[in-house]
């Protein structure tokens, strides 16, 4: 199992990125990692020699975290993200991981057009904490203007991902909307409802869910367009920080002798729900494994991201997706003529 890791991607690269790779290698004896980036910048974090199961793929450029992806790819042909995608396209690796510029990772995938059969726009699937354990939400930013069929495909892929990640035999799927009743929402939503209701997934599909249902854990898989999903994800990050600060202030004003214990409790909560600690979010629909990690990823997040990539590759998630999609057109048209 060979994974390419963008050693230059992330707020703190390359130090914690390389450290994360070493940690992942320690935990998984079958894993091999290609570190993609500036050899001179990477080497100091590897010790005196390149460790076993590590390869360095040297490249000279990096797309900045806030750089326009299109401009970055144009101006910097030797950037680390493009090189990762190239290694995947040449089947030299089974997966790629980056904590760098998310837009550039998605753009690299779109340029490569290395999509699974039936998929014309990949989507990013993230894990959301809820009162009933984690849920999967997708898309959270790869596709801000999706068609109904693409949203439906996100449901198909999300359901398979949820089976693997959440260990659920039959994950439920909810469609993000502004109300729970059928008929609510815009035209895109209505067309997507129709596809779910007439598909083999209709047994998983629980219909519309609203924003407040997410953290209740009402659905295992939350399907939404990349604009809404991205805003929601970031709103959650921001509100989480806001709440921790406000709760911390309030407790430090109210408690007398147990302020330190309260701090510890909040710290536990932060580490449990830290959105950056899930390792990363797969870009589903790519022929290969592509994991997009949070820009603030440290050693632990990168090690988790590499482990996630290996896990998804070994589980054959893409074969499962393609098999399910292969069966859909016939079933869909059969359903439509029956209705």
């Amino acid at each position: 199992m060979e994974i390419a890791l963008d050693a230059m991607g992330g707020d703190h690269a390359p130090g914690p990125i390389v450290a994360g790779a070493l940690k992942a290698l320690e935990l998984d004896p079958e894993l091999r990692v290609t570190l993609v980036g500036d050899q001179a910048a990477i080497m100091p974090f590897l010790g005196e020699t390149v460790p076993a199961r590590v390869t360095i793929f040297h490249c000279t450029q990096v797309i900045g975290m806030d750089e326009s992806p299109a401009a970055g790819f144009r101006r910097k042909p030797d950037n680390s993200i493009a090189r990762c995608w190239q290694l995947l396209a040449q089947s030299k690796v089974g997966g790629i991981v980056s904590a760098g510029n998310t837009g550039a990772m998605v753009a690299g995938g779109l340029f490569s057009r290395r999509f699974l059969r039936h998929i014309d726009r990949p989507g990013i699937a993230t894990v959301m904490p809820t009162l009933r354990g984690p849920s999967i939400m997708l898309d959270v930013g790869a596709n801000v203007n999706p068609k109904a069929e693409q949203l439906f495909h996100y449901g198909v892929m999300g359901e398979i991902y949820a089976r693997l990640m959440l260990n659920k035999a039959k994950p439920t799927i909810g469609l993000m909307n502004v109300g729970s009743e059928e008929g609510k929402g815009n035209e895109l939503i209505k067309a997507t409802q129709n596809l779910f209701n007439n598909s083999p997934l209709r047994g998983n599909y629980i219909g519309n869910i609203e924003g407040r249902d997410i953290h209740q854990g009402v659905a295992d898989v939350i399907v939404t367009d990349g604009f809404v999903g991205n805003v929601v994800l970031k709103v959650c990050e921001g509100l989480f920080d806001f709440m921790i600060k406000m709760v911390g202030n309030e407790l430090s004003q109210t408690l007398v002798n147990e302020k330190d214990l309260a701090k510890k409790a909040l710290q536990t909560l932060i580490s449990r729900y830290d959105y950056s600690a899930f390792g990363g979010a797969p870009l589903l629909g790519i022929d290969g494994i592509c994991i997009i990690s949070h820009g603030s990823s440290g050693e632990r997040a990168i090690a988790n991201a590499l482990a996630l990539a290996a896990q998804l590759a070994r589980a054959g998630i893409n074969n499962q997706i393609v098999q399910e999609l292969d069966q859909l057109p016939a079933l869909l048209s059969a359903n439509q003529s029956a209705n």
Copy 2:
């Protein structure tokens, strides 16, 4: 100042709704309230006689909280929300307040077509708590498929509302997007950016903001479409509840002698940031004042909503909006030809 109050709207109507009206009347000697609803249901909460400055407008029907607004209006012509809008249309009241079915309140406004000059779709403006004090977000659900010009108008109206509500001389305006750079987002967003950049509001406009900026208080006014705004608002409600529960659990497992103090601290936080406690959200763009309150509104929220309606009416918010919009077309075209 006469305000019509939907006495039948809300999860707990009519008891706390009527109580809220009485409280508002006590606090504002110039206020008069028309209670719209079933006289027999309302009377028990008024005491033996109808108090001074209270009128009852009897009607026999109620649109349920989860009922389809269109079906509700069709099947129940004598519903309390329709009667409120009728009183406004006949200029018998200067404003209306309801904690009932939000969709029905919006639909009533759309049916009435009692819009301010230049406005073709009203928008709901809500208050969001942030680290730097409250911000205004609109639209949060009236218009799930807006045009760029409508989003721009939400900016104009939100800026005036923010001047009144937040007491800021020059509120900043941010456009909700999936990234902070110009050029990010879908076509709607790009067209809206263009309108702001070429308008007299360009000095207030700070460009794109992301989901995580909201609770940082980066913008005083957050402009977004009703689909995204509605999802965000409800996600915030849900995540707030989730966090309070998780923090409460963690503290009760960690603290020893000061659990009750911690509970008190969380309770303080809940009452300070309770989304239902802001009274209500104005539907801006209506010729008249229309306040939509949270379904769970109790006495305090209703009293606040009536006070808000009276405040906005007295401040002449609609005159200010129309005056600003009157000047826009000339300025906009002047700017466009100058560029």
